[in-house]
Symmetry: C2
Subunit: 331 residues, 2 copies
DNA sequence: TTGAAAGCGCTAACAT
DNA sequence: ATGTTAGCGCTTTCAA
């Protein structure tokens, strides 16, 4: 049986309210009593029951993190960043994996919303309407998606795509293929847009091969269509897709980068380990998680609606050049 | 402002206790009132406050999952399995990442213990003493570790090692190196033991090169020592280590499997994607997570101490042969 | 500076 | 079958 505040109070010879104050507002209690309370707390190994506290303060000290797929290293990294930052403020984190299912996401969000002070929605596949409904119910921070009036952190996808295109064009590529991710993904739309702009700015050609699952399998599936476009270079929605694509190209005996250059996005650990090692746009993943928590805590501390709107962070990706592109020029 | 049980009661024209009963023990309430309550619940979008319920029932409907490193795909998969199974029973999951730090683990566990019905400790690095202390405070299910009197799920490491060794010996290897994982890891001890038995049973030689971090970097660090042993084959603590080792061997121009055969453990997605593709012992990861939840829910349902002791599941690994071993015989 | 009392949202006796 | 009462562990008025 864990000790309650009354046990502590009894042992310290004070009232429960004094114990409560000694813990949450130490300045309002006599230093002598404060010491006695501290001793009792120590001796009993007392830890306040957060649920009980939350019931009255309306604050649970918990936050929720919702991701499409924990097995995707990108999300695992974001989750790690969230964890790390949350722990610093003694905040516990509920994690929910939606399995890339928008319907499941809605359910999980509703279930979590009641037990947390706020929610971090990572790469949410929810519709705009659903999203604002959620934002009404609890504090929300978005990762990888920008929505008016909701706080969040996004990557500058346009800049990432510009870097990738500049690199490929410098290598002599004139036709670049693009393998898109989930249609509901904000990132895929913005990467596609940025890519289109960058390619045309360089007077090159863009060959879009459509939407694929953001997974290794998605990349395998996309490979043949990419080859069919006749492009000499391809940029994929993310690294997982690029690595799947690499595998299929290898199976078909198509040499990378000899016949086709490949660029991914994310720089997951796997990218470096791929053969050939994958050129990619490195996104600061843990940082996104940390900032998301930061934002959420800020919003919670000062819930003025004005702040929510401004609280949008933009992170920048960085092109990491590896063997999967050049120096061999395309055919 | 979310609706409370009193709002529902008022709208349905009944008392709060009736609403409570209609929701938790529907059979004890008149079907007519049950319908009225259901309607009110629906109309108000009422969702019981779990914290409040937990305060009185002593059950929160939450569980905690503690892992050493979410960025390790093995743990990400286990987490996914846990999530999936927990969701089926409408249980929410706190996830804590200890960053491979035993001290952090202790703190996180204590913090979580109060807000959950039970804890799943995955590859816990805690000492036996700490572990039993935790098991005293809350219900615990261990993954990847076997402890007397604590429920859990482990892999049959011995069998996995036997399969790997039989494979290597059949290929003609006579000296097999072993790269161990964290010293505090139950798995590393049992893999090492099983390996030793299997190797000697085949009349072969075992060359142990010590403990390394269970990461890509650990594998890089181990590679040169492995080579120095003169072994023609190496088995590593896990796939991440094997892949790091592969990278370092590649950098040194040592051919795999031509000069050295490599076998990992886990079969993370990355293993298939490695070049050469990694031979490994496939562990059912999500299944471990699912079973852990199952066990925990069972223990919670019927907290007789007798069950806890028996509730230990053993899962079996399966050797997956890929390019990193044979058919080329060792030198 | 401290204590007593009330109550957060809910469920579990105890009545009826 | 339903309502009333009490109280889970905590914080927060309000008095002293």
């Amino acid at each position: 049986m864990p000790a309650t505040i009354r046990d502590v109070a009894r042992l310290a010879g004070v009232s429960p309210s004094t114990v409560s104050r000694a813990l949450s507002m130490p300045s309002m209690v006599n230093s002598a009593t404060r010491v006695r309370v501290a001793a009792a707390v120590e001796q009993l190994g007392y830890l306040p029951n957060r649920a009980a506290r939350g019931l009255i303060t309306g604050r649970t000290g918990n936050i929720g993190l919702v991701v499409p797929d924990l097995a995707n290293p990108f999300f695992a990294s974001v989750a790690k960043g969230v964890q790390a930052r949350a722990r610093r403020d003694d905040v516990a984190v509920f994690v929910a994996d939606t399995d890339e299912d928008a319907a499941a996401e809605a359910g999980l969000v509703r279930a979590l919303a009641k037990q947390v002070d706020g929610l971090i929605l990572c790469s949410s596949r929810a519709s705009d309407a659903e999203l604002s409904a959620i934002a009404q119910e609890t504090h929300v921070v978005l990762v990888n998606r920008r929505e008016e009036g909701v706080a969040g952190v996004v990557y500058d996808n346009e800049s990432g795509m510009r870097q990738a295109v500049a690199h490929l064009v410098a290598l002599g590529h004139r036709t670049i293929a693009w393998v898109g991710g989930p249609d509901m993904s904000w990132s895929t739309r913005h990467r596609s847009l940025g890519l289109s702009d960058a390619v045309h700015a360089h007077g090159a050609e863009l060959a879009e091969v459509g939407s694929f699952a953001p997974t290794y399998e998605g990349g395998m599936a996309a490979a043949d269509q990419v080859v069919a476009t006749g492009a000499t270079a391809v940029i994929t929605y993310n690294d997982l897709v690029a690595i799947g694509l690499l595998a299929r190209l290898h199976a078909r005996g198509i040499s990378v980068p000899g016949e086709l250059s490949v660029v991914g996005v994310d720089d997951i650990a796997m990218s470096r380990m791929a053969r050939p090692a994958l050129t990619t746009v490195r996104l600061p993943k843990q940082q996104a998680g940390r900032i998301a928590v930061e934002l959420l805590l800020t919003v919670l501390r000062d819930p003025e609606p004005d702040n929510a709107i401004r609280a949008f962070a933009t992170l920048h990706g960085e092109l990491i050049v590896r063997e999967s592109t050049g120096p061999a020029p395309p055919p």
